[in-house]
Symmetry: C2
Subunit: 125 residues, 2 copies
DNA sequence: TCCATATTTCAACGAATGTCGAAATATAGC
DNA sequence: GCTATATTTCGACATTCGTTGAAATATGGA
């Protein structure tokens, strides 16, 4: 992931309204939520929310799809993966004890059993 | 983790200079780097860097320790864990296939073999 | 004590950001 | 075509943010 893309995603998330929207949509899953319902849920004016949604979409964090009169927004899990990987890059540099807790925390947060234990090769060191 | 703390950390990272500093210190490990060397590495004026370091410290992302005339700054891995966990919270809601890729990506990014395979209980569904 | 080095603090400036009201656009149903 | 609903776009405003130059503080050594 490129540095500038990471900045866009981080600053998109670094605002109370947008973070609330993103977390709401992460919880909502792939079906997403129409803009109007999002506005009601997070307590933002429709036009204000529209501006924030635009920023989240441009950052790649959300996808949008029109369904008749409503537009559904959904979180893009890949965008989150990429950002996390970028932030953790080279985080141990040969000292596994440093980033192992980070890894474990991420695994726990994922709140589901590991898909299948695939071969894990240490990239460095 | 509290929402406001997450906002502080995200906006601390959402700026090119600060993100460069944080990543540099993540790579540098627990020994950290003196402020002057950081300034030279990322190409910021000492006073500008000082302001950015203050923001990163206040967000809890860095620790600082004076050593004689220099002040060493180091990344706090726990702060990153907490932020990642917060962003991934409830990310699957009963649909493991959604966040499993995120979890695997995080595990790969950690670039070291899993510390020890401790019991992994699915938190939800 | 005096000086050099390392870092921070202060005040000020231009640029970017978030929110609001009003108007515009898009879709569905009659 | 007309009306109602859903959402976006536009223009303006106050606020916040990042950088700069100058001055201040802290530490170590002669």
């Amino acid at each position: 992931m490129e540095s500038s893309a990471a900045i866009y995603r981080l600053s998109a998330l670094a605002q109370p309204g947008r973070l609330a929207v993103f977390r709401l949509l992460v919880r909502a899953g792939p079906e997403g939520i129409p803009a109007g319902e999002i506005a009601a849920a997070v307590g933002l004016a429709p036009n204000t929310l529209s501006a924030q949604l635009t920023i989240l979409v441009q950052a790649g964090l959300l996808s949008s799809a029109r369904e008749g009169r409503v537009i559904r927004y959904a979180a893009r899990p890949d965008a989150l993966s990429e950002l996390i990987v970028y932030l953790m890059e080279d985080c141990c540099g040969g000292r596994p004890e440093i980033c192992a807790p980070v890894q474990e925390a991420a695994a726990r947060a994922a709140c589901c059993p590991p898909a299948k234990s695939r071969a894990r090769r240490p990239l460095r060191a």
